[in-house]
Amino acid sequence: MRLKFYRHNRFALFIIAISLLFITITTVACGNSAGNAYKDIDWQLTLIGDEQIVLDFDEILAMPAYSGRSGFFTSVGVVNGPFDIKGVPLLDLCDLVGGVNSSEFVRISAVDNYSMVFSYNQLHGEFITYNTSLHEVDNDGLVLVLMYELDGEPLTEDVGSPLRIAIIGDNVLTEGMYWVKWINKIEILNFD
């Protein structure tokens, strides 16, 4: 009797140990810290202005970052966020290829052939902002960034990995169409 009891206890402990091992492996694989997860990102961003340069993801990560909290809503009013967001200001990236003046605008393109343009005023933070009840509210200044981290984690594929536009303010929302996913090209253009 005692022997059988011991064997069953060992069996139960074995099951628990296997389960803990499984949970640990899953956690490591799925919920890794942001720093490690960035290591394997192979992505190139083309910047076109006075000149054309291509940045690797590591080079973007090495630029001074801007953080804040904001979110967006879809065209049918589904609210996403606000989130803790970290990224590189779009104007800093534009400065690498000559900067943007008031007669120019910026086109952001993504790998899915979607593009969105931002006027000079928008590049300097002029957007309509909303609260989470989708009522228009004033803001204390907005910064357009190329986001690579959301709520302390790298972006997932669905969210727009590895680079997505975000409009950072103080807990405000903006229209989701501006939050372009999967960005691979930034062009500075003018109407001439």
């Binding site: 009797m1 059988k4 009891f5 069953h8 206890n9 069996f11 139960a12 099951i15 628990i16 389960s19 879809t74 065209s75 049918v76 009013g77 589904v78 605008f105 086109r107 899915d112 052939n113 979607y114 593009s115 969105m116 343009v117 006027s119 005023n121 309509i128 989708l134 009522h135 228009e136 229209e175 169409m177 253009l189 109407f191």
Partner: protein, 356 residues
């Protein structure tokens, strides 16, 4: 109970506990999901259609997701999302974006038929606090909208069909009212980079620049026409170009415009065709940035890679049935009776029968 039995039960209990999360992940609801992606202006009717259809089919869970019409189709053709039914506010997007695009690792197009099943009209939404609301009518609306103390809302024509259709209506108004200055007065000096009109071979083409930014407070632009309704409620604008169904679903007053310019009637399809809107840029790889003046016709299809095509056919059959049409009518969305198709042979049989 002996100790061995107790230990077996304990072991089984532990294993069961460990399995519960896995089972939950794998199973979830026992209902069959039916993902339906719809245009934003169809969100109110689809909620009623969903409720009634689920009452008739308690084993099915209609899962509605809303986007702008172009994005509705892109979810399937470019973003690899699976959907059983797609519903858009402009039927012509279905052949444009789906007929020549093949499903990955296949020669089959994403769709090869559409149904046109409902119409709409374009007019002006307003409230009882809108300036000159008591005197606006079909004869003077364009004059009132240009008064200096009146604020007008319009959806961004680059992003929302309601926006470019508003441009069409205002251009058509020039012929209808025999006043060639209407478009210029309404929009001529309103944008940092101007919206211009050129004429050739009897077609008036409205050119929309890549940046569309109002340069004064008299004209207010929003990415989606529905957001204009909130501004109306807050008294921040007096009038908004809007679809009739959306204005009435949200309880706003609505000025109907003459059918010659409101894009509602097939009887005027030829004259609507005398205007077009051309975007001077390409925002989506798969969309021609030119929109011809046409009656507003809602379209739907079942993608060829739909996960549940048979149930999707049941849902579409319900939507175009007498019961479905009544729901559309109740939501101020005039149905096309019977629904029309461009390719009867390709339709599921049960849908085809309803068109006869």
């Amino acid at each position: 109970m002996c100790m061995v039995t107790k230990q077996r039960i304990s072991t089984a209990f532990i294993i069961a506990l460990l399995l519960i999360p896995l089972l939950n992940t794998g199973c979830g609801s026992s209902k069959t999901p039916l993902p339906v992606i719809v245009a934003g202006s169809f969100m109110v009717p689809i909620e009623d259609l969903e409720t009634k259809f689920e009452e008739l089919h308690p084993d099915i869970d209609v899962q509605v997701e809303g986007h702008g019409s172009i994005q509705v189709i892109r979810q399937v053709t470019e973003l690899d999302k699976e959907a059983d039914v797609l519903i858009v506010a402009d039927y012509s997007l279905i052949p444009m974006m789906m007929y020549n695009t093949t499903i990955a690792s296949s020669d089959e197009p994403y769709a090869d038929w559409y149904l046109s099943f409902a119409t709409n009209s374009l007019g002006l939404a307003y409230t009882n606090t809108s300036k000159y609301g008591s005197e606006i009518n079909q004869s003077n609306w364009y004059d009132i909208l240009t008064r200096p103390d009146v604020t007008v809302g319009i959806a961004d024509a680059r992003l929302d069909s309601c926006g470019y259709r508003a441009f069409m209506t205002c251009q058509l108004a020039e012929d209808y009212y025999d006043d060639a200055s209407i478009f210029e007065q309404l929009f001529g000096n309103s944008f940092t980079w101007p919206v211009t009109v050129s004429g050739e071979d009897g077609i008036q083409t409205i050119h929309v620049p890549e940046i569309l930014e109002p340069k004064n407070d008299r004209l207010v632009l929003r990415g989606n026409s529905v957001w204009l309704l909130f501004l109306l409620d807050a008294g921040e604008i007096d009038y908004a170009f809007q679809y009739r169904s959306v204005a009435e679903q949200h309880g706003h007053s609505f000025l109907e415009l003459p059918p010659e310019i409101d894009l509602s009637s097939d009887d005027y399809a030829t004259s609507y065709g005398s205007v077009m809107v051309k975007m001077d840029f390409q925002r989506f790889g798969s969309v021609q940035p030119e929109f011809n003046g046409e009656p507003i016709i809602y379209g739907l299809t079942i993608p060829n890679n739909a996960p549940h095509p048979d149930i999707a056919a049941e849902f579409v059959s319900f939507l175009i049935s007498t019961q479905g049409q009544a729901i559309l009518t109740d939501n101020d969305q005039p149905p096309i009776v019977p629904a029309q198709t461009d390719n009867p042979e390709a339709l599921p049989a049960e849908i085809r029968e309803l068109l006869q």
